[in-house]
Symmetry: C2
Subunit: 328 residues, 2 copies
């Protein structure tokens, strides 16, 4: 099947790298970033795309836009990995809507459109008879969406609890291990490249809230949005609070919780017992799924990283290839 | 689809209970234990099977055997959950061979046949165009086989490390927490029902070795058997060794390891850092999968229990129903 890739940052480059290195029976026929794009029905040269990006700042040519590619006949699956914008989900939302309308499958790592318009987009995909998959939007390399949709058949999911933001988890772990203040740990995370220059989106809990909304809408068919989540970040946590938790064989983590029976969607710093599987260190992510039959299951892995997040995109692509290859 | 259930112990009763309580579009048309069986094309009354078991010692009637059911036309999927026998895998091995030969799907929790004859049985299932699924053989409620076969598409699995025996993990955790000797902790585990009267199979590492063989054969298409695994149990571990590990912020766990690049299949007590996700407490199971793209992923959950193990069987049944329903 033919793949068009929109976005050539960390995730997009990871996807391109894997498509170039592994023989997955998928051909990259178009690629674009915010400055340009390129279509080649015979298959894009991936090394050349990297080298154009390094030299000219775009992986393609300035005359061709992402939207031109979406509207073209060059692809069967759109991979939308442009940066997340949580206010309106654009330009990804438009890309995804158009591709689905054109009966193309869509794979995305972009939390904006999926958190803002999950129901609209999944309904549209269903009507069009195509797949919309977004494993990479939540917990990076952990195949949690796949597990919730396919791995736990027969189970009713009662609740979800997760450490879903590596930046916050790194800061809290460092405050714990070294007795740093929040500002010191944040500064260190920024130096290490684990936190943005403006860390608001992560440390105020918005990133976790978006992921929680995506999971809740996926598992329970909710139509929840950011406004339905009670959100408290980690920026007011003191070294004293961390120490108090440690004194009681616990630790503080930023936890996203979804418990539909209590009508609860919440992101907040919570006290976790030292030996609970959810209590992970550093930039790891962890998600505990509470089910009626299988009990509590916890999934731990890398929540970010170019190749790790791309791994989730590739998994979605192969899922689609297996299910739909051979269809007209 | 019509289900025949062989085995009415802990797992079989869990499966029957779930089939009775949930509307899964599966009909239980036959059930047997070692003392008798019953066929009812209109659907077995599950409460009556439980009540017969309580009163007469068999869920069915003495005149009908498990093999009679296997050879009958009464079912589409055989659920084989009789007790594991690691020497010859019987009688489950015969049941599974015959059912596959008759073009029936098979779901099993029985480690014997899958560890002893994985290649023969998977080849036979493929030739017959039917499914052979065995999620419940490894790590109870954790959908690890599904994840390895379907959830990590595109990834190459490089190595597996796991805490796969709840009995051993309970004993080691209690030695750690309470300073018990091995014999004291074993006695306690036996009182709690976590260890058998003859604990050899668990504490000598054989159960873990069987699960490791099943995983290795599944992931890498090996044709390994118990003889290929270097096995050391936990029965010689002293309180001093446990204390020494604790002094260094580590703990001892019985780990099954499979690293094909090193030609290594090994079960042995290993030192695990305190903050490693694999270090679980009590009867929990945990499995770390090392992949080329997604990095290290760890899966934690209940490795035993009637409903928890049955959850894995039910997941396999629904997987088959989704894939094959409507086929002749």
């Amino acid at each position: 099947m033919r793949v068009a890739l929109l976005g050539f940052g960390s995730v997009g480059q990871g996807v391109a790298k894997i498509l170039g290195e592994k023989d997955l029976d998928l051909t990259l026929t178009a690629v674009a970033d915010s400055k340009g794009g390129i279509i080649d029905p015979g298959g894009i040269s991936i090394p050349e795309a990297f080298s154009r990006k390094a030299k000219s700042g775009t992986c393609g040519r300035p005359k061709l836009s992402a939207l031109d590619i979406v509207n073209s006949d060059a692809y069967d699956i759109l991979v939308e990995v442009t940066p997340t914008h949580i206010d309106d989900g654009e330009p990804a939302l438009t890309h995804i809507r158009k591709a689905l309308a054109l009966h193309r499958h869509v794979v995305t790592s972009n939390k904006g459109p999926i958190a803002l318009a999950h129901r609209e987009l999944t309904d549209l995909a269903r009507r069009q008879g195509v797949a919309l998959r977004y494993e990479a939007t939540v917990c990076g390399a952990i195949p949690i969406i796949h597990t919730l949709q396919h791995g736990l058949l027969g189970n009713e999911v009662k609740a979800l609890f997760g450490v879903m933001n590596g930046t916050c988890n790194y800061i809290l772990t460092r405050m714990e291990d070294e007795g740093l203040t929040y500002d010191q740990a944040l500064g260190e995370a920024q130096e290490m490249g684990y936190a943005e220059k403006d860390p608001t989106y992560d440390v105020k809990g918005l990133d976790t809230a978006l992921k929680l909304v995506i999971l809740a809408n996926t598992v329970w068919g909710m139509d929840a949005g950011l406004k339905d989540v009670k959100v408290t970040g980690i920026d007011l946590i003191t070294p004293q609070a961390i120490q108090l938790a440690m004194d009681q064989e616990t630790a503080i983590r930023l936890i996203g919780e979804a418990i539909p029976s209590k009508d609860l969607l919440r992101v907040s710093p919570r006290i976790i017992p030292r030996n609970h599987p959810l209590l992970v260190e550093g930039t790891l992510n962890a998600l505990t799924v509470v089910t009626d039959l299988a009990g509590e299951l916890t999934f731990i892995g890398k929540g970010a990283g170019s190749v790790e997040t791309a791994s989730a995109v590739i998994g979605d692509l192969l899922f689609i290839r297996e299910r739909y290859a051979g269809r007209p």
